[in-house]
Every structure is written in structure tokens, then in C-alpha cells.
Amino acid sequence: MMAQDRSKRNFLSFFSGKQFLIPLAALLALVIFNLIADPEFFRVTLGRNSAGDPVLAGNLISILDNGSELAILAIGMTLVTAASGGQDISAGAVIAICGSALLRVLCGSDLTSGQIQSPIIVAFLVCCLVGMLCGAFNGALVAFFRIQPMVATLILFTAGRSIAAWINNNELPMVADSTFASFGGYIKGVPMPTPFFIALICFAAVWALLRFTSLGLYVQSVGISEKTSRLNGLDPRIVKVGVFVIMGLCCAVAALIKVSRLKTINYSIIAKDIEMDAILAVALGGNPLSGGKFRMSSSILGAYVIQFLTTTLYKFDVQSDALSAYKAAAVIILVVLSSPVVREKLMKLLRSLSEPETAGKQV
């Protein structure tokens, strides 16, 4: 009897409890769609890149490559959402600021020669510092002045790209350094694109952070009940500033990849609308946007699902200006299917299907 109860619980939790299954189901749907439409989609070939090195090529590789920035941002967005119950909409603008700062340090006063003037590591550290400062600014507005996260981050969302342009006097520095280009391209002799590895490093870092510190418990406690957290000795304000600083760091890493890909920067276009995709990744991962419990792996998978969708749409020659509309349509279906209302309905349906089954066994 007990065992039967448990097995039933497991059977049901397979559909309700495991958050991970929401983005996984979405991924599966996309994979099946592509398999039917054109199995060629999944072909991975060994080609040569512009430098003449052997590299892997194909849609799957490009998903893993281009999805990196989004997946990295999804990490920060998940934490911000969980702790503050709101979203950071300044991510794209902060990437522009970080990227601009990175180029500023890298190129110094010489904007056009393409020669780098200072070590890449120094430039990157400055870029990280700028990102964390932007995060701390957002976090302080949210935590100390109790401004809605979306409103607080609206400030940098609006001002960020102007600040980015101002950092470089509205000029467009060029970098021709091959080492720098490898962050957004390929390391000599490695057939996988570098951003994929940078993303992996970030995943490992956040895994370690969740495993070897109490970050997960603190963030979820603060997100669910600020008052209770305070009475248990936590300072919700510090936790909130903390997650925004992590978000800023994620933006800095994404900025490194983006700038390295382009070898320059376009202040008004770089990482445009990426924050919306990041929020979507969190939602698609089944994390409540009102904060509280979260599952990091789910958000990351959600990010790749979104990239998968984008790449699929490109593959089917959707006009670039119509892309957003198609994407929106697909997203509506995904989000509605994973919404609690629909999930509950599905649960009920499954329960009613499974009930006569177990009743039959008991007899």
C-alpha cells in the first residue's frame, strides 16, 4: 500500500515536480519538429574556418556557440528573479557599458590601429569591475530604496547605451588582435567555438557557488519571505545587492564574448533585447517570475531552447524582420503550456487516468 502510494507519487511528480522537464519537453518538441521537417538540420561537419583551421560546423554547433551569452545571462537573471521577485531589464545596456569599458582599456588612446595597448586580462578585470558596479547600483536601488526591480533597472536600461558611447567618446575602436578574437571565435587547434567553453566555465562556477556556499538557501529564503529571513539573522538587503552584483558579472563575461566576436562595438545594437530572452529563459525553465524557488539547470536549458528556436527559424529562411513575430508565437505556446494553470489541468487529467489504474491493482 505504502509502496504503491510512493510509486504513484513518483509517477505524478514526473510531470509536476520536476521543473527540468518543462524546458526539456520544449526542446524535444523542437527536435521532433526539425527531424520531420529536415533531418539535415542536425548534421555536424568538420570544415575549415577563415583562418584555415579545422573546426566543427553545423546548426547544433552554432546553437551552442551563439547561445552562450544568453545562457550566462540566464544564470544571473535566475538569481535576481529568485531573490527580488523582479527582473533586471538593463542587462543589454550593461553589456554595452562593459564592452565599451573593455575596449577603452584595451585600445587606450589609439582607437584605429587595432593594436592592443594593455593586457587582455587587465581589460577584462576592469570590465568585470564595471559590470559589478552597475549590478551594485541596481541592487542598491532595489534593496535599500525598495524600488521595483524593473523600474530600478529601467534607469540603466535607458541610460546604459549612452554611457557606453560616452566612455569611448562615441568612437568605434577596432581590435585586430588574434588572441582577443579567440574569445569569441576559436582557439587554434580546438574545433569547438570558445564561447561554449566560457559558458561551461560559468556553469561550473555557479554550480560550485551553489554547492559550496549557502547562496541557494539564502536567495530562496529572501525571495519567499523577507520578514522570516530577517528574523533568522539574514540581511535581505545584502542578499539582494549580492545577486545583482552576480548579474553584473554575468553581463561582463557576456560583453567579453560579444565584443570579441565583433572585434568592435556598436553601442545601440550590441546585445539588443537580450534581457528579454534571458527573462524568457528563466520563465521557460519553470521558475516563478515572482521569486522564491529556482532551479539553475532549468534556466540554462531554457536559454539553449530559445537559441534553438531562433536558429530553427533562421534555418527556415524567416525574414529577419519577421523573426520576432514567429518567435513570439512559439514562445506563447511554450509559456502557456508550462503555466501553472495548464499544468494543473494536465495533472488532473493524468491523475484521473492513473486513478482507475491503481484502483484496479488494489483489487
Binding site: F212, T213, S214, L215, L217, Y218, Q220, S221, I224, S225, K227, T228, S229, R230, L231, N232, G233, L234, D235, G292, K293
Partner: protein, 525 residues
């Protein structure tokens, strides 16, 4: 022993028929109202005369607010009739607007006005049928109104720049201007200081002399004797009695509210033969932003103390100040002979104090997290961010305490919100016991939980004290407090007014101390 006035045994409906007593402007007869299966009001009568201030008193769940909400049209009544002066036959009040039109105005504790609009705008907002408004004329009108009521505010200043008391008065002025004959004041004084309260009372007296009937909901005994003419006491949804304030002593009034009869049989206090431990905690001048008089508190090892007092007397605020739960907490605290500073919860936890809040849902559990995470939370925070418990350690703690406290849960992974109230309370207790506190503060740990869990918690508290832990236990049930505590700190009107221990512990003494005035109890500290 005494029996006061009309009790609920007296047939409730004395004035059957469509006529009212000569002087009364409001009569509510046989009002009943249930919420699901809970009977919030049962056959309650209420009368209000012209030009009188009627206090409406009662403890938690007495039905005060339900009665007020029925009168002001927020709730509908299940049965009963309401008569108003000038209306033949009973009236139906089905919405707040309708209550307004019938001349019943309400000023709530939380002032629902607009702080960024001007005083005049607040007085007249939403009351104009004409499209065009001459603000100059309205300001003049407001000026006249304010000065006639002696309210120190200018019509053009933003409402937010006035003090809370003046804002209350402006809310009253708004009500007065709507020509109300019945004014309901729902705990208007709870956030005011003495001077502000006196100003408000002045205004109330003025309105009384103009013939307005005022219903004054309050928890402050002193204020009832200061300003009210009569008092209606409710308890557990029933009418306990209506008294002239001059006819009832404070002790009798307290006894009516608590539903206890006065007698002098002492309750067996268990503490008598128990050796008194050393002083664990001594705090002087403890205060917080929550409007309580600074107090002194001494807690001994192995002793169960308690805070007694009526609802709103500041019991919870005191223990919250000890724990640093509210803003602006401070005081001179000595623990174990060392001076410590406790200004926020983390200070208190570091010094071995634990606090279980009376609001289990908002300040106790973290609903979506598992039983295990809820149990380890406080200890984890104490241990530090960079030293998390491993999964097996956490599981060990959770299993240990689930067994020790008999927490009924499917597993340690179950979200705590799926547990029953009593088991949730045990989870929070487990959380604090895991930190091995020296001083455990329990604010209403047994409210709203089943009898089994209640007995478990009471037994546990006694055992903890026997093992040397200091415990402060708060309960609204006097009997429960007497059964558990060996020392009681007595609160009245947000002040600590006395301390009872040993032989002094009896319901009689407690009520007398709460009432103050005629009897000095154990004497004020």
C-alpha cells in the same frame, strides 16, 4: 464574585417592534454573522445614543470588527435588524456608500487618504457632483471647517506633511463635513503619543457636545475611562454586557473581556519550590520604534516567564524589542555578565536568543522550502555563508528533530506549507532548538493549532526549562499562561506595569494588575 449587568442569558431582544428608545440614534438587534462554519457574531445587540461616546471592547476574535463592518456595509449580516433614528422600520446597509448616505462615517486605523494631495482636496475629494470646482471656495470652506474643529492644519498644505494625529483629525473632519450622525473610530489612537491622543480626544468631546454618536474601538483601558460614556464588551462573538463606564471598575471590565470570574482561589504555581537560577539576561531601557514604554527585564536560567496583558497592550512588541525584531531597537543588555548590544535579529541569535513570531505564516515558515531547509535555516545563517551544511548533515538534523518533536510530515523534502499548523509550528521550534539557544522566546506558539500539538509544545517548553533553558512564553489564554509560567510580566497600555511570581500568580491578581488603579498588584516596578 459578581455578575455584571445584562449577560447573554437575558433575552437579547428587549425592544421588539419598530420603535426605538427615545434617545438612541442607532439600534442593532440580534445581529448574527458566520464565516463558513465560524460564528463571528451571535445574536448581538448594540445601541448608541445621541451625543455619547461608546467604547467597543473585546479580545481577539470577539467580533468587534465584524460588527463594525456590518454597520458600515462592508459585510452583510446573516440575521438581525438595524434601526436608525429618522427611519421608520429597519434599514438595509449593503455598501459603504449607502452607510455614508445614512450618516454613518468611519475612520480606520490606516488612513486611506492621499498623502500627496492637499488637506482641502482630501476633505472634499470624490464628493462633488458638479464638473467644475472652485478650489478657492473649497479652500475657504475647508479653512472654516478646520478652525471650527480646532484642527491645526492649513487647507493648502499636503496631507503627508501633517502628523499622524492631525491626519486622523482631518479624516474625522471629512466625516463630520459629510454630516454624519454616527462616527466610527477604529483604533485611531494605537499609533499616537499621549499629546496627540489628547488632541484627538478634545475633538471627540467637541463632536459629542454637538450631538454626534461616536463608536470608539480601542484596546486602551485608560482611554475608555478618560473619554467614554458607556462600554460594550464582546467576547467570542457574543455580547457580554453594556455598562456605564462610571459603574464598572477596571478589574471588572478586564474580567468581562477575558471571560473570567473574579475569585481569590490561588492557582497552584509550580515554581514555588523550584530554586531560582542565576540571572541570564538583564536588560534596562529596552525600547523600539513600536510605541512601547522603555522597560526593564530580568530573565533567570531555567525559568519560564510570560507576558500577560490584553490584546494590543504591547506584549509582542516587548519581546520583539528583546530580540531586535523591530526597527530602532536598543537598550542596555547584560547577558551572562557581559554587556552585549542587540539591535537586530542577527545580534540576538549570536547571543543565544531565539524568537518564534506570533505570525507563523508571514514571519515563521518559508512556505515553499522543504521541512529540512526550514529546520536548518537559522543554524546555517549562524554558521555562515561559506560553510554550508552538507546534504547528509542537514538530513541528519532534520531527521533527528522530526523524530524528537514528533513532526508529522511525509518526508523531510515536503514543502513546509503542506503541513498542518501545529506541525509547522513544531518545524519552527525545531529550527530554533537546533541553534541551542540559552533564551527561547515563544510568542503565541499554541494559537490556532490542534490540541494534540498544543499539549506537545507545552510539555516541550517545560522540559526545556527543566534542562536549564530560559523561556518566555506568551499566550492569550490566561489559564495556559498560569499553567506554564512561574513569573509573569504584566502589560497595560503599552507599559510594563508589574511583575508577579510564586504565590502572587492568580487570575485575580493578574486581572487586577492589568486593570491597575484600585489595586497595586505586586506593585509597579
Amino acid at each position: 464574585m459578581f455578575v455584571c449587568g445584562e449577560s447573554q442569558d437575558v433575552p437579547a431582544l428587549i425592544f421588539r417592534g419598530n420603535y426605538m428608545k427615545e434617545n438612541s440614534i442607532l439600534e442593532m438587534r440580534g445581529i448574527s454573522r458566520s464565516f463558513l462554519s465560524v460564528k463571528a457574531l451571535q445574536n448581538v445587540d448594540f445601541t448608541l445614543c445621541r451625543g455619547e461616546i461608546m467604547a467597543l471592547m473585546g479580545e481577539n476574535g470577539a467580533g468587534k470588527s465584524t460588527l463594525i463592518k456590518i454597520l458600515t456595509g462592508v459585510y452583510t449580516k446573516d440575521s438581525g435588524e438595524i434601526y436608525l433614528k429618522g427611519h421608520s422600520g429597519p434599514v438595509e446597509i449593503s455598501s459603504p456608500q449607502q452607510a455614508q448616505e445614512l450618516g454613518i462615517s468611519t475612520v480606520y486605523q490606516e488612513i486611506p487618504l492621499c498623502p500627496n494631495l492637499s488637506v482641502a482636496e482630501n476633505i472634499y475629494a470624490g464628493r462633488h457632483k458638479k464638473r467644475l470646482i472652485s478650489w478657492r471656495k473649497l479652500n475657504e470652506k475647508a479653512e472654516k471647517l478646520l478652525s471650527s474643529l480646532g484642527i491645526p492644519a492649513s487647507p493648502v498644505q499636503p496631507l503627508g506633511s501633517c502628523s499622524v494625529a492631525v491626519q486622523q483629525m482631518i479624516a474625522i473632519a471629512r466625516a463630520v463635513d459629510m454630516e454624519c450622525s454616527i462616527l466610527v473610530l477604529d483604533e485611531p489612537t494605537s499609533s499616537l503619543d499621549e499629546q496627540e491622543t489628547e488632541r484627538l480626544f478634545e475633538l471627540m468631546r467637541q463632536l459629542r457636545s454637538k450631538g454626534t454618536g461616536i463608536i470608539f474601538v480601542t484596546h486602551f483601558l485608560d482611554q475608555v475611562y478618560d473619554i467614554c460614556d458607556r462600554v460594550t464588551v464582546l467576547r467570542d462573538g457574543r455580547l457580554t454586557g453594556v455598562y456605564n463606564v462610571s459603574d464598572i471598575t477596571r478589574v471588572q471590565l478586564v474580567a468581562e473581556m477575558l471571560g473570567r470570574e473574579l475569585d481569590d482561589s490561588p492557582v497552584a504555581a509550580e515554581a514555588e519550590d523550584k530554586a531560582v537560577g542565576e540571572v541570564l539576561y538583564h536588560g534596562r531601557n529596552i525600547h523600539s520604534s513600536e510605541n512601547i514604554a522603555p522597560f526593564e527585564l530580568t530573565v533567570r536560567k531555567g525559568e519560564i516567564s510570560g507576558f500577560a496583558g490584553l490584546l494590543g497592550s504591547g506584549r509582542s512588541e516587548c519581546v520583539r524589542a528583546v530580540f531586535g525584531a523591530d526597527k530602532g531597537t536598543d537598550g542596555n543588555v547584560v547577558m551572562n555578565g557581559k554587556t552585549v548590544s542587540i539591535r537586530k535579529p542577527s545580534d540576538a541569535i549570536k547571543n543565544g536568543i531565539a524568537y518564534l513570531s506570533e505570525d507563523r505564516k508571514a514571519e515563521g515558515i518559508i512556505g515553499e522550502l522543504s521541512v529540512r531547509e526550514n529546520i536548518i535555516l537559522a543554524l546555517q545563517v549562524k554558521k555562515g555563508f561559506f560553510r554550508p551544511f552538507s546534504k547528509s548533515e542537514a538530513e541528519g538534523f532534520a531527521d533527528e528533530y522530526i523524530r524528537a518533536l514528533g513532526i508529522k510530515t511525509a518526508s523531510a523534502d515536503t514543502p513546509v506549507k503542506e503541513l498542518s499548523g501545529g506541525n509547522q509550528q513544531k518545524v519552527i521550534l525545531a529550527r530554533w532548538l537546533l541553534t541551542h539557544p540559552e533564551y527561547l522566546i515563544l510568542d503565541e506558539p499554541t494559537r490556532g493549532i490542534d490540541i494534540g500539538a498544543k499539549a506537545d509544545i507545552q510539555r516541550l517548553v517545560k522540559k526545556l526549562a527543566d534542562d536549564g533553558m530560559s523561556v518566555t512564553f506568551i499566550s492569550s489564554e490566561l489559564g495556559e499562561m498560569l499553567g506554564i509560567c512561574s513569573r509573569l510580566f504584566v502589560m497595560r497600555d503599552r507599559k510594563m506595569v508589574g511583575q508577579l511570581s510564586g504565590r502572587q500568580l492568580s487570575e485575580d491578581n493578574i486581572m487586577k494588575t492589568i486593570a491597575g488603579g484600585e489595586h497595586d498588584g505586586a506593585g509597579p516596578q
